[in-house]
Symmetry: C2
């Protein structure tokens, strides 16, 4: 039995009728970058900021899962039915590896977190979405962000219709606490409510910049003085060139001013899609006091219900295998990243010697760790330039302009070195130098 | 080195300053239900609508994962590095098991879907959030929903600030297409834009009702005539009492009017957190035409970036093990659910005989499958009643009122039978009958 619908014209929607976040030019840039990457598979790609997975084997998943299962049986004392339920069933919205996460944060970061103040999320991205949704309730509510800024947080803000106010990073050194204080005052004077300030204190994406420790302490003071919350996102903290850890804002936070977002994408692996947020702020409501984490969990029941039990079990197993000391377990991959970053910086210095700076006009920052270096060039580093560079010189990078919510960065490009071998990095920088020379011939450099 | 922040007063937030979705009374109900369930662990619980996981063993995860790995090597021809990347790395935002999902939908549902029109999501809940966010762009945009309605969609709407317009289900038989047409006209007359209508056509949560096949065809006509999209959510379609499948709206959809949301939580297992959405609508924009699935993927990059590779690999392995015929693979668990539903209906008939209806005042609907039965009682079936029932009679259920966006259902309760043995169901219905008798003594039944 078939019928013909009276109006069988296929439904066509108009993009302009869909949500405004879909018109975000950043999305077009991401699409463009993906497309160019696919079109030039042999190019040296400094574009994606993804971690290196070469130290893993698929069998490691089973080993980690079995470690967690053994833990459930032997440490948590669960019988077969309870183990089965943990792995196969819906779980608690807040997550079930919270105690392991809290133990790892204590061991690695000196952060003392109540497991009940932690929500395990579908990656750090979901944590950003939940935190923004909870905090920004009113059209007057704004989010301050370090600028240039990670696109995950600006994307989540676009999706939720939250206004973002960029606070420029200080030259060479992360966010300036006094600039944050000034931005809070300015926004309040304009009738808006600055709810929080988002930053990546260690080796930020995209700038590579780090916040010096005294500035961290001052930023906490500013937060307390102005009644601001800080949203700290720290995916790269383990990967310092000197192998030494900086205290996170959360480790220094004695007044619950910091909402700390973490990711196991770089320290375990992205395919598990496990992140978390520490939200130990008290929330006072008519029915009493809750933790912000509980409120985030309520919101999470409307985004993903709960975080993959499989992902949690495998990451939980990896945490157990590491004795909750993930920093130690990341020594080998950390050495790989540090070696790559040193190679990148050395090759840039060789390709663009300081003596010739006036001629070639290229300079870059000197990150103390992480995946990213920002290069300043004497030409417009936009998408057409990137496409020319891919086509004619076989090297890919990311234009920085997309990371500036209020414009800027047109002559900056981001290089990521997390996913290449030293040989490829050397080769890539030489190609980049050839491209820069060609651009100089193409378009005479204006005075900087 | 330590410093004392100048203002060390712990941050306390006010609930009234947080987002309005957190004040949703449904959230309080969910919290209450969870809390009562924990407080009465020995009660027979007809409350949670979760699937039965007793047929799984933890080793099945490894088997499924290995099946998928073998598929990658032997069918997709991937080498070790590419396999490693698939499992451990960030993946495509749309997902990577899309072809397997499309094959399963063809084999099980007769749905022909382009894999590129599918987005694999962190459960059906994320799919709902993405679809609502894409479609509802303007304060005038409203979502029609079958009422009573699954709380996942109303929750996502609250989180996004989308207005929901309930369309009552017809007595005993799902949504009335003419009522949908009338609601569209009414909303348009009031200056609003009805963008889509959400429904669960098979054995709905919470009502258990199904849409008869002629009504499905008529609803598709109504959608075409009124320019409405239908959001079809079909987690229970495999679990008909008679074992026969009804055509989904998507299988009947010749004009791309249906956005089809699916879940592997009931047909594989919830712990994988894998759902999907078929969004094969064309979207016309200034740069050309895309698929709605591509637009949803852009939004997904702002919610969870991509869906757990582990979860996708394990569900992919289960689909392969089933030869993409998941309906067949679900025969045993389907028989378990059907047996439970028959037991529940028979026990209700025994405990509340038709002859005594006038005295006991209890009746219920007769779902053709699925997990849920709605019972009408001659007393207010609210949270205090549920708590009394748990405390004094050791049986739990769900008040229906929370499922009615515009109020109603005060004397209705939902029983779920998916997670109990027939013995427990028998016991539970007897306890429920004792509770109903006690309530009748407590508060004389008013005329119905």
């Amino acid at each position: 039995m078939t019928t013909t619908p009276r109006a069988a014209e296929p439904a066509t929607l108009l993009l302009e009728d869909l949500h405004g976040s879909l018109a975000d030019p950043l999305l077009d840039q991401m699409t463009f970058l993906n497309e160019v990457t696919l079109r030039y598979p042999d190019a040296v790609s400094f574009a994606p900021g993804r971690p290196y997975e070469g130290l893993f084997e698929p069998a490691d998943v089973t080993t980690a899962l079995n470690t967690y299962l053994t833990h459930l049986r032997e440490e948590e004392g669960l019988g077969p039915a309870a183990v089965r339920e943990r792995i196969f069933q819906y779980g608690r919205t807040k997550g079930f590896i919270n105690t392991l996460v809290a133990g790892q944060l204590q061991a690695d970061e000196g952060i003392t977190a109540d497991p009940e103040a932690i929500v395990v999320t579908a990656g750090a991205q979901e944590a950003m979405l939940l935190v923004l949704r909870a905090l920004c309730a009113d059209p007057r509510d704004v989010l301050l962000v370090a600028s240039p800024c990670y696109v995950g947080i600006t994307g989540a803000a676009r999706l939720l219709g939250v206004t973002v106010v960029p606070v420029p990073e200080a030259p060479g050194g992360g966010l300036d606490p006094e600039a944050v204080a000034a931005a809070v005052r300015e926004q309040r004077a304009a009738g808006r409510r600055p709810r929080a300030c988002y930053l990546v204190p260690d080796f930020a994406n995209p700038s590579g910049a780090s916040l010096p420790v005294p500035a961290r302490r001052r930023l906490l003071d500013v937060a307390a003085e102005t009644g601001l919350l800080l949203i700290e996102d720290d995916p790269y903290g383990f990967f310092a060139l000197d192998g030494r850890s900086r205290p996170t804002l959360k480790a220094l936070d004695t007044a619950h001013r910091v909402i700390h977002i973490g990711s196991y994408a770089k320290t375990c692996f992205p395919g598990a899609r496990i992140g978390y947020v520490i939200a130990d702020q008290r929330v006072a409501g008519p029915a009493g006091t809750t933790l912000l984490a509980d409120e985030l969990a309520k919101l999470k029941s409307m985004t993903t219900v709960n975080t993959s039990a499989l992902g949690q079990a495998v990451v939980g197993g990896m945490l157990l295998q590491a004795g909750l000391r993930l920093r130690d377990a990341n020594k080998a991959v950390g050495a790989f990243y540090a070696d790559n970053l040193r190679t990148l910086l050395a090759e840039l210095a060789a390709a663009f010697p300081p003596a010739g700076r006036e001629r070639h006009g290229v300079c870059w920052n000197l990150p103390e760790g992480g995946f990213f270096v920002v290069v300043s060039v004497p030409f417009t580093a936009d998408e057409p330039a990137m496409e020319r560079c891919a086509r004619e010189h076989g090297v890919l990078w990311t234009p920085m302009a997309g990371f500036y919510p209020a414009g800027g960065g047109e002559r900056l490009l981001r290089l990521s070195c997390s996913y290449l071998t030293p040989d490829r990095i050397r080769d890539g920088v030489r190609r980049l130098a050839a491209f820069a020379a060609a651009e100089a011939d193409r378009e005479p450099a204006p005075a900087n």
